[in-house]
């Protein structure tokens, strides 16, 4: 079956511009996560959705970052007034249940590589 997909795969933008990154989770997965991976580092949590609502957005670095999941499936990560420091790979993951009692596995997409010039 299809895995998590993310578009675009690469995005180059200029400082100050607005960008949207899209994530299509695995069909039927109710939980969706966004992570950011900077060069040479492990992924860092940004936000997670339980259905349509953001259950934990504690990882969003500031108010320029926002994410939505209006119908409980596709999610969009939005970055306003981009800065060079936002350059990273943005990873999306999904899991079957938000609170898997046995340690639900998160399945990752290929990521969107964002470069802010």
């Amino acid at each position: 079956g299809a895995g998590v997909s993310q578009t675009p795969s690469n995005k180059v933008t200029e400082k100050g511009k607005y960008v949207e990154l899209r994530c299509d989770p695995i069909s039927g997965h109710t939980a969706l996560y966004w992570y950011r991976q900077s060069l040479g580092q492990g992924p860092e949590f940004l936000i997670y959705f339980q259905g349509t609502g953001a259950a934990d957005d504690s990882g969003l670095p500031n108010d320029r970052f926002f994410a939505v999941r209006p119908e409980g499936s596709v999610s969009t990560l939005k970055i306003q007034r981009t800065e060079r420091g936002d350059s990273a790979v943005y990873l999306c993951a999904s899991s079957l249940f938000p609170r898997g009692g046995l340690g639900e596995t998160q399945y990752f997409g290929p990521g969107t590589r964002l470069l802010v010039l």
Binding site: G40, G42, E44, F45, D56, A93, G103, F108, P110, G111
Partner: protein
């Protein structure tokens, strides 16, 4: 706060030899531990996880990991390395209180030489 440490930036192994990639963790509750692998320009692929039960966990592609509670470690192992195992490996922990975010280590690059 929970954390994960991968003490080695890179591990070099000859093909056919056993490999170990180290991971230690710190959590306040019960740990849920994961290993992922990342190939160039690709996302993270799930290898295996420890939830409870046997301390030796078997996963994909012949990998296994040993959970050691007293040493707070979860080292990844494989009896015989392949050149195709060369990749970036990440250990992650999820605190077992319902919090769903994964905390990742910085990663270890595995290089398997022919």
């Amino acid at each position: 706060a929970q954390s994960v440490a991968q003490p080695e930036d890179q591990v070099n192994v000859a093909e056919g030899n056993p490999l170990t990639v180290k991971c230690t963790y710190s959590v306040s509750g019960n740990p849920y531990l994961f290993w992922y692998v990342q190939y160039p320009n690709r996302g993270l692929q799930f290898l295996l996880k420890y939830i409870t039960g046997d301390n030796l966990v078997k996963g994909s592609y012949g990998f296994e990991a040993e959970f050691n509670k007293s040493q707070t470690s979860f080292h990844l192992k494989k009896p015989s390395a392949l050149v195709s195992d060369s990749a970036l490996y990440f250990c992650a922990v999820r605190e077992g209180r319902g919090y769903n975010k994964l905390i990742f280590g910085a990663g270890t690059r595995l290089a398997v030489h022919p």
